[in-house]
């Protein structure tokens, strides 16, 4: 198969050579660390011929013989201009970009490919440098919180890191860390995300117009790339914050050949609280992350990356006791705990077959496990009795993916590949251990059927420049899914995006994507709790499916220093699932019996983004006008109802101003229409309540028919940088919710002292100042 592909591509190459075209190809790297840079813009000055580096910093251009001025540029780096003479052979040319000494000067944006020129719509890239300038919550820079500030992306409840893209639910976001799916991106019940910003290089969010290489989720793809590690020098960075500290070390193992990066983060609430916990008791919570990556450059053609992530949340409570001697004088303890975490690993091999054909082979592992349990132990006169119970759920993937990119000519950039993933789903397993009078019982009960699934997809995609004005990305994505309960689904998903360049400063874009999703997240709350269960499509539960159409315009303003984009979208979703009324994650039956499977969804809206990327003042203003509704046969009388996070208006303002090299100030302000909710509108009696007496029950409004008060909040962040002998240190002072707005977390009905029923609002976070110390060497 591989030989056939190579043969076909060779023929295509020969055909191109027959037209006397030659290939300019190579890598673009950071001059200091030799890390390869993603998305660098390379173009021939005075023409529309150009390309960008891929995820691994590789580029390829086809050029006819002649003389050219090549410009290589990327935001935050000094541009390179190079005279090129193409005669009668291919050229291999690598570039090393130097970081800009200062970003204070207003410069014309010739860096990265302008949004106006890109065919891809509904996509936003954020650099970690940009993210780190956004005011931090409790001193923790958070990637997902930054994502929530983009138009079309909504936060859930106050403070949480779940995100909702264009009316989709959190499980419809494919979060890829170095190409590996991360199933639960939350720490501390969602208040922090699992991504340690110090270990991250790049963040890229796609909300629609999905190219054919993406699949498996309906609403978005969030690609997060870990740093690779400095090939030349040993460096470190870290921070000390109010709730956590982190440290990142990177450097060469073999100079210019092999590098490593390792980054760890841990909270210390449990350690700080331990002196105040009474004797005989132990109570604690912490979360911790470890990111590690090694990469080795075998040659210009081959490079290997090994990356690993492990994150854990652990909550525990233990109480020891001793009986009064009158009652036997025995002693024992009760212990309970809740823990969850992700493990991911990726081994990636880049191979350059020739100047036009680049490949990446990735082997992946991903696991998410949630566990809740208790244990009771009692010993008296050497008689031991104990019992324990653990309930856990798990999803585990092993995968292999092969992606190839072929620069056919300057008009066609082909991508194709295939992927296979083996999923194991264990949505509900109870383990019981009991010891009494020396006899032990240990039993495991799979409350829900274990599902093994084979998930395969293949794709082909062409980025086609059609003349000076048109550019089209079109492709097909085929996926197939087979489970051990003999469910088999397969699906062909067409994708197309098109751009029409009206002039240098304005382009019009449109896209269509059909998406399929074979995994589902069963959630009681919709706020991303660890108790949410990942489950598979089965013979009874069909895959989710969506279709999305988007239209938009992008414009560069005022000498390309500003960008304005407007997009409208319409998305339909089918085969959504949701718990039946009152069902929950701990059920004594298979999960398939506890869900409604006939859900439909629709989402539509308008997104505006006004962004400034360069100069002393950078940032954006985003606005979203959106509607999103759901319908299930057995919920809300089968009528459409607003989705929990249906939010009509959503505004985010993100501004960073750099006063000098020493001081910068970040500001974010967000406004959102209140979340929809369901509340009691009446009370009534039914017989057969407790002990047969009539009970009083609430009659609720239609589902999510009411609106909480609006949400708005101002955050401020102030950074004071100072160069030291050993590197650089930064003091960060952040203020979350600067004007202490009492935003609604939830509302409930209560009775006041006068016996009147009233609505009470509970808010979570008032003004929260924090300070952190960051260092870099």
């Amino acid at each position: 198969m591989r030989n056939t592909i190579l043969g076909l591509l060779l023929l295509a190459s020969l055909a191109i050579s027959a037209q006397s075209s030659y290939t300019l190809s190579g890598y673009v790297e950071d001059a200091q660390s030799l890390e390869r840079i993603i998305g660098v813009n390379l173009y021939l000055e005075g023409t529309t011929v150009g390309t960008t580096t891929n995820t691994f910093g590789f580029y390829s251009l086809s050029l006819a013989p002649g003389e050219y001025d090549l410009v290589v540029s990327f935001i935050g780096y000094q541009s390179i201009r190079k005279k090129l003479v193409v005669k009668d052979q291919n050229i291999k040319l690598d570039f090393k970009l130097e970081e800009e000494a200062s970003t204070l000067e207003e410069v014309t944006v010739t860096a990265e490919e302008m949004q106006v020129e890109r065919v891809q719509m509904s996509q936003v890239q954020l650099s970690v440098t940009e993210i780190k300038k956004i005011p931090a919550f409790l001193g923790e820079v958070d990637i997902i919180r930054a994502i929530q500030l983009l138009p079309g992306v909504q936060s859930g409840n106050e403070g949480t890191t779940g995100f909702y893209v264009r009316g989709g639910s959190p499980d419809q976001n494919l979060i890829l860390l170095d190409g590996v799916p991360v199933y639960n991106a939350s720490h501390l019940f969602g208040f922090f995300s699992v991504f340690n910003a110090d270990a991250i290089k790049n963040v890229n969010l796609t909300k629609g117009g999905f190219p054919a290489r993406f699949g498996g989720r309906l609403s978005s793809v969030l690609e997060i790339d870990m740093k690779e590690g400095n090939m030349r020098e040993f460096h470190g960075e870290g921070s000390l914050g109010l709730i956590s500290s982190k440290l990142t070390l990177e450097g060469p193992i073999w100079k210019d050949k092999t590098s490593f990066i390792v980054s760890g983060r841990r909270t210390y609430y449990d350690i700080l609280a331990s002196p105040f916990i009474p004797e005989g008791q132990d109570f604690g919570y912490y979360f911790a992350d470890l990111n590690a990556k090694i990469n080795h450059n075998f040659s210009r053609k081959d490079r290997l990356y090994l990356s690993y992530y492990n994150g854990i949340d652990d909550f525990s409570f233990r109480e020891e006791y001793q009986d009064d001697p009158f009652f036997g004088g025995g002693e024992g303890y009760d212990e309970s705990g809740l823990d969850w975490g992700n493990h991911t690993g990726a081994l990636r091999w880049n191979h350059l077959f020739n100047d036009k054909l680049f490949s990446n082979l990735t082997a992946t592992f991903s696991q998410y496990r949630f566990s809740i349990g208790f244990e009771s132990y009692y010993e008296e006169d050497n008689d031991i009795s104990s019992n324990g119970f653990e309930y856990f759920s798990l999803i585990r993937d092993y995968g292999l993916r092969y992606d190839l990119e072929y620069a056919l000519d300057n008009s066609h950039q082909l991508r194709f590949g295939a992927s296979y993933t083996n999923h194991t789903f264990r949505p509900g397993v109870a383990q019981i251990e009991e010891t009494f009078d020396g006899a032990s019982v240990d039993s495991i009960l799979d409350l829900s059927q274990k599902v093994l699934a084979n998930d395969f997809f293949a794709y082909v995609e062409d980025d086609w420049k059609l003349g000076e004005r048109w550019r089209i990305n079109y492709g097909l994505h085929y996926s197939a899914y087979l489970t051990n309960d003999d469910a088999f689904y397969h699906n062909l998903q067409p994708r197309v995006s098109a751009r029409y360049l009206v002039n240098d400063r304005l382009s019009l874009k449109g896209s269509y994507a059909l998406m399929n999703q074979y995994v589902h997240l069963l959630s009681n709350s919709g706020i991303g709790l660890p108790t949410d269960l990942w489950v598979s499509s089965t013979a009874k539960v069909k895959p989710q499916r969506s279709q999305q159409v988007a239209l938009g315009a992008t414009s560069s303003l005022w000498g390309n220093r500003f960008e304005l984009s407007a997009e409208t979208y319409y998305k339909t979703m089918n085969n959504l699932i949701e718990y039946k009324e009152g069902a929950s994650f701990i059920a004594n039956t298979d999960w398939q019996n506890t869900v409604e499977t006939d859900g439909e969804g629709q989402a539509y809206g308008l997104e505006l983004l006004f962004r400034k990327k360069k100069g002393k003042t950078t940032g954006w203003i985003g606005y979203t006008l959106a509607w999103t509704n759901r319908r299930f046969g057995n919920l809300n009388n089968g009528d459409w109802f607003p989705y929990r996070y249906d939010r009509r208006n959503d505004i985010s303002v993100v501004i960073n101003h750099q006063f000098s090299e020493k001081f910068d100030l970040g500001l974010t302000w967000v406004y959102g229409t209140g979340n929809s909710f369901t509340a009691p509108v009446a009370q009534f009696k039914l017989s057969g309540g407790d002990w047969g007496f009539p009970g009083t029950y609430d009659r609720f409004s239609d589902r999510n028919a009411l609106r909480m008060p609006a949400y708005h909040r101002l955050d401020l962040g102030f950074n004071w940088h100072k160069k030291t002998k050993w590197g650089e240190r930064t003091w960060n002072i952040s203020v979350y919710n600067a004007y202490s707005r009492q935003n609604p977390f939830f509302l409930y009905l209560s009775q006041n002292n006068l016996g009147q029923r009233r609505i009470n609002q509970v808010s979570l976070f008032p003004i929260i100042p924090s300070i952190s110390y960051q260092f870099k060497f």
Partner: protein, 284 residues
């Protein structure tokens, strides 16, 4: 600095919870109908009024409703008579001695001063016969079969009763049977997946049109000489009402969606349910 810390702490404490002015739409007072029409039994109807959720009043049973049963028989509608309930439970019972026929539609209409007219309609289902019945007296275990009608969506309820009296607790290993009222998986010492309860419900979605075997075990000792196993063929409305009522009562999900108790009453709340039962009587 001290003042700043004090001010910030004060703001933090005040920020947590507050009473707010929030207008919840008032649906007005409505009639609440509650009845289960059972083949071969007298009709008992409970009627009460609802109140606005932010009102200081409480919902109450009333004795001044006009209530009628509409059928296709001559003489329809048939008025209910109200009596005081001699037992615990609702204060008043609206009663009607009327012979109910399987397969026939019935409609109840009620109205009272200050309450708009409300109604509910339901079909009385046919009895589904118990087949291959067996009772193992030593283990107190019942085994039987019944045949489901492929043409209709059916719901069943199984109970074990003292003769003509209260339901008794029984158990099953059958995971497709659902206990709404009392089902405590974790407290079962055997940890074998056995479920317990007073009423087990069984929708036909997994055996539509087929013969279905049921195996249940009596768990509650009784002084009764005879006990009955009852297979009730119940209306979908009844199933959904009981399911959602139980879910309402057991729902403790702080962030989860509240459960709306299913109602088939037009312009009111509550339930008009129907059932038809086949009964096997055995010596305990």
């Amino acid at each position: 600095m001290k003042k700043l810390v004090y001010s910030l702490s004060l703001i933090a404490l005040l920020a947590c919870e507050k009473e707010i002015d929030f207008e919840i739409p008032d649906p007005g007072k409505k009639a609440v109908i509650e009845t289960r029409l059972q083949y071969g039994e007298t009709i008992n109807l409970y009627l009460s009024e609802s109140v606005y959720s932010l009102s200081a009043e409480n919902p109450a049973y009333r004795d001044d409703f006009e209530a009628y049963l509409y059928t296709s028989e001559p003489g329809s509608p048939f008025p209910f008579e109200v009596i005081e309930n001699p037992d615990f439970g609702p204060e008043y019972i609206y009663q009607l001695n009327h012979s109910l026929n399987q397969g026939q539609n019935y409609r109840i209409v009620v109205r009272a001063d200050g309450i708009p007219r409300a109604s509910a309609e339901e079909r009385l289902l046919e009895v589904v016969e118990i087949e291959d019945f067996n009772y193992n007296r030593e283990d107190k275990e019942f085994t039987f079969r019944f045949r489901d009608d492929a043409a209709t969506e059916d719901y069943y309820m199984v109970t074990i009763n003292e003769l003509g009296s209260d339901n008794l607790i029984f158990s099953t290993l059958d995971l497709n049977m659902e206990f709404f009222g009392y089902s405590d998986f974790f407290e079962d010492g055997e940890f074998d997946g056995r479920q317990f309860g007073f009423e087990a419900y069984l929708p036909d979605e997994s055996f539509n049109g087929k013969s279905r075997e049921v195996k249940v075990r009596l768990e509650q000792p009784t002084e009764a000489v005879f006990i009955e196993l009852r297979l009730h063929h119940i209306s979908k409305s009844y199933y959904r009402h009981e399911l959602t009522k139980s879910a309402y009562e057991t729902s403790d999900g702080f962030f989860s969606e509240p459960v709306q108790i299913f109602s088939n009453v037009e312009n009111g709340y509550g339930i008009m349910a129907t059932s038809a039962s086949d009964i096997e009587k055995v010596q305990y």
